[in-house]
């Protein structure tokens, strides 16, 4: 049924876009993937996301859904009988939502600021990153995944911490997340990346590294 067709406008390196792919794959939902060149956005992307003009955009039943967290909840609620992304219990769901927001509002910006800065400023921002990672690590509490025994909503939303942050720190020549500093988070990251669905979805490391290095050069260049 063409109406049930699922399309995803994404970008190969975007952690937001990859979240949606992880969710669709875990749910076993087939989809058509459309790679966007963010320097030359497709007319469809601009039509479906006129406000932010960003990826990811999910199209289902000809309706666009925007914002990765919103898309993930939509996927969970629409394909209810598949793999559960969010926990059943309202309190656990609230915790998953709260910490997912925390990753985007705190961890991502602090890591960017640290990566783009130097010297004393970088030291200050790196301390912030460490503070944020420590708070997030405490949420694991001996569990295999944030979601419990299986990968869930928060694990997917925190994939930055399992993968992108490591590539970013290498690109920037910085130290954000190490096994010695954050052993529980490190272990979680390894387990998370070891899951078949996640492994096949993560972007190529060498390509991501080159792309981040190039981006940081542009950010650091004198204006």
């Amino acid at each position: 049924m063409a109406d049930e067709e699922v399309k995803l406008h994404g970008m190969w390196g975007s952690l937001f876009s990859k979240r949606v792919e992880m969710a669709l794959k875990l749910k076993g939902v087939p989809y058509q993937y459309i790679e966007e060149d963010l320097t030359n956005k497709s007319p469809d992307l601009l039509k479906y996301n006129p406000i932010h003009k960003k990826v990811p955009v999910l199209i289902h039943r000809r309706n666009p859904i925007i914002e990765s967290h919103v898309i993930l909840e939509y996927i969970d609620e629409t394909w209810k009988t598949g793999y559960p992304l969010l926990p059943e219990d309202p309190y656990e769901r609230s915790m998953a939502r709260f910490w997912a927001r925390f990753v985007d509002e705190k961890c991502l910006p602090s890591a960017w600021k640290a990566a783009c800065s130097e010297g004393e400023e970088r030291e200050k921002f790196t301390e912030e990153v460490h503070g944020h990672l420590k708070m997030l690590e405490e949420q694991l509490r001996g569990k295999r995944f944030f979601g419990g025994d299986a990968v869930g909503f928060l694990d997917i939303c925190a994939s930055f911490v399992a993968y992108w942050i490591l590539v970013k720190q290498e690109a920037a020549g910085a130290e954000f997340l190490t096994e010695s500093k954050f052993p529980a988070l490190w272990r979680w990251g390894e387990e998370f990346k070891g899951c078949a669905v996640i492994k096949e979805t993560l972007p190529d490391r060498a390509r991501l590294l080159a792309s981040l290095k190039a981006y940081l050069e542009i950010m650091k260049a004198p204006k």
Partner: protein, 238 residues
Amino acid sequence: MAGGGEVKLLGLWASPYVMRVQIALSIKSVSHQVLEQNLEEKSQLLIQSNPVYKRVPVLIHGDNISICESPVIVQYIDEVWSSSGPAILPSDPYDRAIARFWAAYLNDKWAASLRAIAAADNEEAKEAAVEKAAEGLALLEGEFTRSSCGRHNGKGFFGGDCIGYLDIMLGCFLGWVRLIEKLDLVVLVDESTTPGLAGWAERFCSDPAVRDFMPETGKLAEYAKKFFPKYKNPKMLL
């Protein structure tokens, strides 16, 4: 836990984010205790129950549960007290996605433009902030028209016949919107620029679940003087 256990709200009468929670609790008829907070001298309870952000609102449910961040709290209330009162979030997944998208837009983009008007200390900055806020309101006017078209008189709320999630996420700012319009001599929501929202705003503010929590403009003006220096000096506004 399904609704059992004492409910406390760490709140602040002037905060739109706290108002969201109060409206939700009111819709669901959840009896609760409000502990008014002083953000200049934060209580131990606030710091302990919201160590990450140390801000209001915080919902404390029973002995062990603290929920922070207003969109998270409102969804929690909707899910725990699902059998009491009307649903806050729509039932259809796509409608829920739309409501959540706009809530994210309000929190991540629009609220800052409103604050920027209040914080603007010169005409240029004020105009730039007003333009941004007006852009957002035009988008929401469009969304209101889209969601209310097909309803018999194009009225009601974003959520339909009753107040819903998006109504709460936007409507909580109306007290500050009215104050800023009055003190900064700007027009944000009115019949000519945003006719749909103008009617919606009146219905929202007079709804039984809302009216007790909408701050009185005079009292809010006094409060605003503490955080936005220009309001202390009326001459600055002209």
